[in-house]
Amino acid sequence: MKIMDNVSRREFLKDGCKLASACMILNVLPIKIPNAFASDEASATQAGLEAKDGYNWGNHYYAYLIDTRKCIGCGMCVQACSRENNVPDGFFRTWVERYEISERGEVFVDSPHGGINGFEATNPGFNATKAFFVPKMCNHCEHTPCIQVCPVGASYATKEGMVLVDSERCVGCGYCVQACPYGSRFINPITHTADKCTWCYHRITKGLKPACVQACPTGARKFGDLKDEHDEVRKILASERIGILQAEKLTKPKCYYIGLDKEVR
């Protein structure tokens, strides 16, 4: 086509329509455009995620189970987490909440220093008829809002279903901290980047339990792999009545709870 000096509006619109419909047809055609963001096994081996110690991230899908009926509120999990991950003082990747509920429906919730030093007797005047502890942490949600809001791709989900933060990418904008309905994230005062529970990714990829699970003396915290047929957590999830936190948010959390109360959120 030669370059024309004057194109009438009519011709311009006609050509434009032709071009647009051509584009639409091209789009429908089954042409595979190489996708840079597709994960493939070959590159997984390259990154050392496979083969190295026989660890293959495609063979795992993790879940966490918390039996609140067994929790004694000793806070050893919080202490172990803090030591294992070098969490700065006053910030918590996991914490324990204490709920005390009276007959009249008054609710008292506290978590002194995240429960890192355990719990003292409190509320002498408060006549609790129902009381329990609820350990909390990142739920590693399947449909998580924290990844959606990250502008730089610092928060991401791995193939094992974990949500991790790349502290080198993170610019510390704090959108994810606000997006998380569970309050699991914080801005680390030392690195100034978003920080949260990783289910001890450095431990589980070596075949160990997360530090909090190991520290729990009563078995209130359990960590499992849903792709393992003989896994304890998988069996419990299949046979017991399980609750999740804030189900109405539709984030599909992967921390499952036994013995939740309606007051817990």
């Binding site: 370059i3 030591r83 991790l164």
Partner: protein, 168 residues
């Protein structure tokens, strides 16, 4: 043909802009970005490479066999050594070399953290009220108050008695 010059100019501008964009992008986006998804692929390996701090009770038994055996036989077998002491990496490094002495906490607060009677604990769990147990309020207790009668590694007194009988 009086407009060709303009087309060339626009073309150059576009191509130049594109080259500039690719050039800048090359330096701003890490190479492994997009390897597995919308994130830096090498971060996975970095996260995995962090060193393990807690060894679990099995890691102590190689050097502290007697304590480990005693501990495993009693009701505290479920309590990790590192809960009451400190993380392994503080005491022994990765290569098994001695770093510093493990701290020992003899305060009653350590025991009470788990055994203080609280309404929010499960009822089946052994809990005490220090006033009932020792006739003293918590702040009045001295360090080692619980250890006078209980062995921290194997606290049940009945078991201790059996052990003495066997010895005697």
């Amino acid at each position: 043909m009086k407009h060709t010059k303009h087309y060339w100019r626009a073309g150059f501008l576009l191509v130049g802009g594109l080259i500039g964009f690719i050039f800048v992008r090359h330096f701003l986006v890490p190479t492994s970005f997009g390897q597995f998804g919308f994130y830096r692929g090498t971060n996975l390996a970095e996260q995995q490479a962090k060193s393990v701090v807690h060894g679990g009770k099995e890691s102590c038994s190689t050097c502290h066999e007697d304590v480990a055996k005693n501990h495993a036989a009693g009701s505290h077998a479920v309590v990790q050594c590192e809960n009451c002491h400190a993380a392994l990496s503080k005491h022994i490094n990765k290569d098994g070399e001695f770093v510093e002495l493990m701290p020992i906490d003899r305060s009653p607060q350590l025991c009470l953290r788990c055994h203080r009677s609280l309404p929010s604990r499960p009822t089946g769990f052994p809990q005490i009220e220090t006033k009932e147990h020792l006739g003293l309020d918590e702040p009045e207790l001295q360090a080692g108050a619980c250890l006078a009668c209980h062995n921290s590694h194997r606290p049940s007194l009945e078991k201790k008695k059996v052990k003495y009988e066997n010895n005697g």
